[in-house]
Structures are given as structure tokens and as C-alpha cells.
């Protein structure tokens, strides 16, 4: 196994023990010297303490998922050791805090006690315990210690004492594991020849919004969407820009519509519970034809559910968040990189069709830090709405399709009315008006057929079609299956609704479209079936992402079984 060119390391302990930052430091350090790194985190919903773990997956090639088995576990307390050791692969290594007594009967793993804190104290910088760990890992996975030192020098540039202490910590950790055999050999990295970022999904969404020209942000704190609020409060400043912390998600959506009506590019971000509260307001946005981007960073539901775990169970609500006849556009990014482009596209769609657009992210993307190619902003187009610039006498809703939007302060007064309305915006109950306006609102969706999609091995009659952040593990499962000789195709898009029409046509031609998704009902599969696609879900609802190896086996079993799988439960 020492020849394996990738590694998964998990850090487990108590909140506040540096567990949260450890995986990020490891992945960032590795990425900064040319490897590919990705983190996965799950926290208890409490401020301090509580069992916490994070993990980093490092590789010479780009990585798509948190990884399956564990190669190395770093356990900071007994509970963490007992809870996680079962997931460490045979032959894997467990680094233990001296407070833990390893199970002598465990012959499957190499257990090494490392006095993290004590060694850190020797450096004069007690917070350097993480670097002691990194030093040890450097030995175990054959990443040159100098590469970590280079990272430390950059990260703490200008603070010589801190750099020195952390370098010493790296040395101490490395020396402590002298004589230990490496578990993997990551070897020399192939440093990409393009610029890169190391960034989380929430941050990528926030910067995408900035590039798209956001002017007004309003939001209420809720896990795991809060980092977007914090980003906006800090960065959406200066002339003509506003970030407001709302008193509830109801205030968020109403405020968003007010600002959109006043001519601004707007966004709010929330998670399941807040998203549900926004339902009526999103319907108002559809009815009054006001642009705005609503981010739902999904977590486990319903109700308070699993605030710090991942799930893809808001799809049906996202497609129809409001009562009444509406179909709100949905874009669901599948990777941290896509979060950026999805945000820009969501703004472009909202401004183009004049209505609310949902950006459906999820916990595992929001908190995932990853190296991604740096977007070339000059190549990411930004759109604005068509505005009315005439003198007066304009009727906002006169046309049977999209029409220019007047701006308060300028000629073209109208009433944005949540009741069914006539061409000026006055309330009406005429059947012919409701027909005309309903058709007008739906007709605008035709403007959004510019979504793109991925396809591979298109000649097969069976295909996988993941959505959202399941893209990564499903892609890995698909590649395992292809390597195995399984006849299966690959389709993926982040444009969930409206879905690119060419993609829908292709999927309709398949005998079976397998949709691995993180919810009980198989929400995407249900949606695809309503579109005439023979879709079947492969569900998981553990609060955790798919394991690629297990999933590939499930797909293989399903293909082998002539009967319909029991995937559709609802």
C-alpha cells in the first residue's frame, strides 16, 4: 500500500482542540505546494466542545469527494479513538494523544502515541500542536517536510517567532516518528500550471455574487449559511452597497424583494428552516416579477433536523417553494468551483427573466475547503435587467412576455402586486387576465435554456445522473465501474430547473437513469420521472455524503438485478 498516491486523514477530538482547523491546514499546506486537497467537516451544533471531526483527502490528482476509507486517524481523546478507529483501513495508522490507552488486541492498525501538546510546548508556541501532527504526517505519507515549512513561512510571513516555533514543531513531529514506515508515498507533486484558489463553497458563492454585481444582501444567521452573511457584512460595503442582518427569514425575503423592486441586484442566503419561512415571499417575487437570488444551503431536515450534517432533501421545496402555480429556477452546484459559477449564473438568470432564482447548495460544499482553478473573471459574463427608460405612460405588465422594468424614482410608475393584476398592476379577477398573466410568467422560463451539461459514454442505455454535491463521489463510483468494464453512461448538470432541453431529450432516450441522491424519497428521480425519464433513485439519508466504493457496488447490483430496485419508496 506504500505506493498509493493519495491519502485520507481524519482528525477527531473535542471542539476547541484544533480539530476544526487541522484538516484545513493539512489540505491547504498540501495544495499550496502542488497536491490536490479537499476537506470534509462535521461539527456538533454547540459553541464549544462536543465530539468533532474533520478530514482531509490529499492526492497527486484532483480529488472529487471526501474519500472512502481512512488511512490515518489522529485521535485527541478516548471517545474519538473508539468512535472512529473502525473506519481506519487495515494497515492504517492511528496517532494517539498520550491520554488514550490503545486497544492491545487491535492488530489491524499501527497505533503510535504522540505527545502533541508536550512537543508543542517545547517550541514555546503551545498552539503549534497541529504542526507537530503535520510533521508526523510528513513522515507517514512521504510529503517532504520542507514543503510544510515553506507553507508555514508563507502563512506566518513577517512573524518570525511564530514561523520558527512552527518549523520546530514540524521537526519535532517528524523526529518523533523516526523509524516509522510510510503508509503512502505522495511523491513529488505535479504542480498545476494554472492559478489556484483554496476556498470553501460558501466563500465561492459569495465572491460569485460580488462578481455578478450584488448591491444588496439581507440575511439571518443559520447554519450552514451564516458564513455568507458574515462575508457580505464585511465586504459588501462602499457606495451603493448594503448588507443588512434581518430579524428573520421573512424579513429577509420581503426586504430582498423591496430592494429588487427598487432596482438593485439582491441576494439572501439561508438553510432549510429559513427557506421554508421564505416560501410566501418567493411566490410574491414570482408574481411581481422581481429579480433576486435565494441561496438555500441544505442541511438535514425537516424542522431543525440535522443543522450541521449534509442532505439533498430540499429539492422538491426548491422547485416549488411557494403555494400556487409557479416554477422557480434552480441551480445546484456540485463542486466548490461550481459554487462560484452557479452564483454568477443565478444572478444572470434572475436579472434576465425578472424573478427569483434559487441557488441550492449543501452543507458538504459550504464547509468544504478545496483547491480549485482560479476563475478568469474577464471570461465570466455578467448580465443586468432590461429597464424602462421612457418618459411615461408605460404599462409594466402589458406584454404577454418579458418586458422592461421601471425603476422607482424614474418615470414608469406601476404597482408590484401580489394579487393577480392587470397591465398596470391593479388587482383584477378577470379569468382572461389570470390566463394571460400566468402564461406570461411561465413564458419567461424559456429565456433560461442556456444551461450546459456533462456527458460521457453516451452510447449506453443505462446512465448515472447525480445532482449537487453527490457529483464527486458518484463520478468516482462511475470511474470505478468503467474501469471494471461496466456499461454505464454519465450525465450531470447544475442547471436543475429549467434543465437544458438537449439533456432532457438524451435522458429520455435511456432505458434506466440511476440517480444517487441524499434523501429518502428520491426527489430528483421523482422529478425526472415527471419529465418522462425512466429514472430510479439510489438513496442515502445518513447525514453524510456517499462513499464511492459502496455506491459503485450498489449501482453494479442494481444493473445486475432484472427487477426494479426498491429505491422508490414514496
Amino acid at each position: 500500500m506504500a505506493s498509493q498516491s493519495e491519502i485520507v486523514v481524519r482528525f477527531a477530538g473535542e471542539g476547541g482542540q484544533g480539530v476544526v482547523t487541522a484538516a484545513e491546514i493539512l489540505a491547504r499546506a498540501a495544495s499550496s505546494v502542488g497536491y490536490h486537497g479537499l476537506t470534509f467537516a462535521t461539527f456538533p451544533s454547540q459553541i464549544l466542545g462536543g465530539p468533532t471531526w474533520t478530514q482531509a483527502r490529499l492526492s497527486r490528482a484532483p480529488v472529487l469527494s471526501p474519500g472512502d476509507g481512512l488511512d490515518i486517524l489522529v485521535a485527541f481523546n478516548d471517545y474519538a479513538y473508539l468512535e472512529h478507529r473502525g473506519e481506519v483501513r487495515e494497515g492504517g495508522v492511528i496517532l494517539l494523544d498520550p491520554s488514550i490507552t490503545p486497544d492491545a488486541s487491535d492488530t489491524a492498525h499501527r497505533c503510535i502515541t504522540v505527545p502533541f501538546d508536550e512537543l508543542a510546548k517545547q517550541t514555546g508556541e503551545s498552539r503549534a500542536a497541529n504542526m507537530v501532527v503535520m510533521g508526523g504526517l510528513s513522515r507517514l505519507v512521504n510529503i517532504k517536510l520542507d514543503l510544510f515549512k515553506e507553507f508555514v513561512s508563507l502563512r506566518f510571513a513577517g512573524r518570525e517567532g511564530v514561523v520558527e516555533a512552527n518549523h520546530m514543531a514540524l521537526d519535532l513531529g517528524f523526529e518523533h516518528l523516526a523509524g516509522e514506515q510510510a503508509i503512502a508515498d505522495l511523491g513529488e507533486p505535479d504542480k498545476p500550471d494554472y492559478d489556484q484558489l483554496f476556498i470553501k463553497g460558501n466563500e465561492a458563492i459569495s465572491i460569485g455574487a460580488m462578481h455578478a454585481g450584488i448591491e444588496f444582501y439581507i440575511g439571518y444567521p443559520i447554519s450552514p449559511a451564516t458564513p455568507i452573511l458574515i462575508f457580505m457584512e464585511r465586504n459588501l460595503v462602499g457606495e451603493g452597497k448594503v448588507a443588512v442582518q434581518a430579524s428573520s427569514e421573512i424579513e429577509s425575503i420581503a426586504g430582498l424583494l423591496g430592494a429588487g423592486f427598487a432596482g438593485k441586484k439582491t441576494m439572501t442566503a439561508t438553510s432549510g428552516p429559513g427557506f421554508t419561512l421564505m416560501g410566501e415571499g418567493i411566490g410574491l417575487g414570482w408574481m411581481t416579477e422581481i429579480p433576486g437570488v435565494i441561496v438555500d444551503v441544505q442541511r438535514g431536515g425537516p424542522a431543525t433536523g440535522l443543522p450541521t450534517k449534509t442532505e439533498q432533501s430540499d429539492l422538491l421545496s426548491a422547485l416549488s417553494p411557494a403555494h400556487g402555480d409557479s416554477r422557480v429556477p434552480v441551480i445546484a452546484p456540485g463542486t466548490v468551483e461550481e459554487c462560484f459559477y452557479a452564483a454568477v449564473h443565478a444572478f444572470n438568470w434572475a436579472e434576465r427573466y425578472q424573478g427569483p432564482v434559487l441557488l441550492l447548495s449543501e452543507h458538504s460544499l459550504a464547509e468544504r475547503a478545496q483547491n480549485i482553478p482560479k476563475p478568469d473573471l474577464s471570461k465570466v459574463p455578467v448580465e443586468g435587467r432590461i429597464t424602462y427608460g421612457g418618459d411615461n405612460g408605460y404599462l409594466r405588465y402589458d406584454a404577454s412576455e418579458l418586458s422592461p422594468m421601471p425603476s422607482p424614482g424614474k418615470p414608469g410608475a406601476y404597482i408590484a402586486n401580489g394579487s393577480e393584476h392587470d397591465s398596470y398592476g391593479d388587482t383584477t379577477h378577470l379569468p382572461s387576465r389570470h390566463v394571460q398573466m400566468t402564461e406570461r410568467r411561465f413564458s419567461k422560463l424559456k429565456l433560461l435554456d442556456d444551461g450546459y451539461y456533462e456527458s460521457e459514454t453516451t452510447s449506453t442505455q443505462i446512465a448515472v445522473f447525480p445532482w449537487g454535491a453527490s457529483k464527486g463521489p458518484v463520478k468516482e463510483a462511475y470511474e470505478m465501474l468503467r474501469a471494471d468494464g461496466t456499461d454505464i453512461g454519465w450525465y450531470y448538470t447544475m442547471f436543475v430547473s429549467p434543465m437544458p432541453s438537449a439533456l432532457v431529450e438524451e435522458l429520455r432516450s435511456k432505458d434506466l437513469v440511476l440517480v444517487p441522491e441524499l434523501n429518502y424519497q428520491g426527489q430528483m428521480a421523482m422529478t425526472l420521472r415527471s419529465m418522462g425519464i425512466k429514472a430510479e433513485a439510489l438513496t442515502q439519508y445518513t447525514g453524510l455524503p456517499f462513499n464511492a466504493r459502496i455506491l459503485s457496488q450498489r449501482i453494479k447490483d442494481r444493473i445486475a438485478s432484472p427487477a426494479r430496485a426498491s429505491a422508490v419508496k414514496a
Partner: protein, 288 residues
């Protein structure tokens, strides 16, 4: 613009107090536009849902922009409009049910922000559009179709509530005195902060309180409406509380605090202290 719009089929009942409020708002808007030399398009009327909210469709003459949203959410919609474009004159028109029941949660935040908008609340003490249910201001023991054995709850005292929450301009008016009401609304729009003009606006169909408000010499009824004396100092919070504690429906400016900066002034100040970064600069912070 409904008077020339045959499609719009909503009408207030004859004698509805909201007619007077509409007239007062038209006058206040006209005067304000003249004073500030601004076109009507610079004003936005955000309406709640109910008989009162229909006012936005019934304004005559030059039309402001309107936003007739969803029940209870006129204040947060106004928040968005005002913060997006602080140069706009933003007026909320809502009823007691909309403003003080379903929309109550939005009062405290706007008071805390001192959001620079003017809310005109038409209080008829009943849900009129849904045909006569008890509202937050319906008095105890009143029989309505939703309180067939008399209302059990105590009514809210709106002026007391506004003062407690820190609303920085509080006025109380009466729909049958549109001239005085116009002045209160005008002052509210000119006030640099959150202003509420609470108006007794009777419902002739479900809660006809004209006689209660005005009184009747013939029947020996003392009216509940009374004029706040000219020597009242609205900047004095103790005097404001004394006016409210007097009971009945005081007419005039109850409270006015001009010492607090408005939310948009605070944001202006914040903007002058902060520098906007481009997306490129923000991206660079994540460079590997």
C-alpha cells in the same frame, strides 16, 4: 388609478374612514413633493393586505410607485426599498390586523434601525376584508364573528407599544379630520427616522365607531377623540407617556425624537469608513 380602471373591482364601503386617509395622504404627498421639488415617481407606497392596503390602487391624480405585497410584510418590504434607494420617499399603508397582528414582529426591528420611512396605520378595530373578525385593537368582550361569546384577549395599545419600542415619531390622527391628518403624515414623511401615524379610521360595516370617537351631545356621549394641547412637548418622553396614559384617541404629534440618526444616515457613515473591494481583490485573498 382605479377610478379610470374598469378592471379593478374593489370598493370601500360608503362612509369608510379610509376615504379620509387617502385624501390626507394625497395632500401630504403633493405638499411634500412641492417642498422637496421631487416628482411623484420618487415616492413609493408599500401596502399591506386588507381594506386599507387597497389605498395604493385608489390614489387619484399623479401616481407614485406602489408595492402591494403580502399580508403583514409591508415594513420589511419598505426596509428593502429604502435601504436600496435611500433617496426615495417610502410610505407604508396598512391596517391594524396587518400591522399589529401578523406583521407585529417587524415593528421592533424597524424601530431599532430607526428606518427612515413613514407608516400610516388605518385602525378600524376589525378585520374588514374577511368580513368582521376581531383584530388586535378590538376591545375586550366585543362580539364579532370570530369572538361569538365576546373577545377574551385584552386589546393592544398601539401608541404605548410604539413608544416602548422606540419609534422616533409617533402621531395619532382621525380619518374625519383629513386636513390635520395630512399635516401629521407630511411631518412623518419629513421626519428623519421611523415614523408612524396611527389613524382611527372606522369601518361602517363591522365596527362603526364614529359616534364613539366624536361623541353625541344629543345622546350624552362624550367622544373618545381629543386634541393634544398645544403646550405638549413631543420631544419629552414623559409627556408623551402622559398623553397616552390619558386614554381615548389623542389627536396630534405624541412623540418626536430627532436626536437619533436614521438607519440610512448610519449606513452613509459606515460607507464613508469602508472601502469597496472588487471581486478580483476578494478572490486574491484565497490565492494559493
Amino acid at each position: 388609478m382605479s377610478h379610470k380602471n374598469p378592471e379593478y373591482d374593489f370598493e370601500w364601503c360608503p362612509g369608510c374612514g379610509d376615504f379620509g386617509v387617502r385624501r390626507a395622504l394625497e395632500v401630504a404627498l403633493r405638499d411634500r413633493n412641492a417642498k422637496n421639488e421631487q416628482p411623484m415617481a420618487n415616492s413609493v407606497v408599500v401596502a399591506g393586505i386588507g381594506c386599507s392596503g387597497n389605498l395604493v390602487h385608489l390614489l387619484e391624480g399623479d401616481q407614485p410607485y406602489g408595492f402591494h405585497g403580502i399580508h403583514g410584510r409591508s415594513l420589511p418590504i419598505a426596509l428593502g426599498v429604502k435601504m436600496a434607494s435611500p433617496e426615495l420617499n417610502v410610505v407604508v399603508v396598512a391596517g391594524d390586523g396587518d400591522f399589529l397582528s401578523i406583521g407585529m414582529e417587524h415593528l421592533a426591528p424597524q424601530a431599532g434601525r430607526n428606518l427612515n420611512i413613514c407608516a400610516v396605520v388605518m385602525d378600524n378595530g376589525v378585520y374588514g376584508l374577511t368580513k368582521g373578525q376581531a383584530s388586535p385593537t378590538t376591545t375586550s368582550l366585543t362580539v364579532t364573528n370570530s369572538t361569538p361569546f365576546g373577545k377574551i384577549e385584552s386589546p393592544v395599545n398601539p401608541l404605548n407599544l410604539y413608544l416602548t419600542l422606540g419609534v422616533s415619531y409617533i402621531a395619532s390622527g382621525y380619518s374625519s379630520k383629513p386636513k390635520e391628518l395630512a399635516q401629521l403624515i407630511f411631518d412623518g414623511m419629513e421626519h428623519p427616522g421611523f415614523s408612524i401615524v396611527h389613524v382611527a379610521s372606522p369601518c361602517t360595516t363591522y365596527n362603526d365607531t364614529y359616534e364613539v370617537l366624536k361623541g353625541s351631545v344629543k345622546k350624552g356621549i362624550q367622544g373618545t377623540a381629543w386634541n393634544i394641547p398645544a403646550d405638549h412637548d413631543p420631544s419629552n418622553v414623559s409627556q408623551a407617556r402622559a398623553v397616552i396614559d390619558e386614554g381615548g384617541v389623542p389627536l396630534g404629534v405624541v412623540y418626536k425624537d430627532t436626536s437619533r440618526p436614521s438607519f440610512d444616515q448610519q449606513l452613509d457613515d459606515l460607507r464613508s469608513r469602508t472601502k469597496q473591494k472588487t471581486a478580483g481583490e476578494l478572490l486574491a485573498a484565497y490565492d494559493l
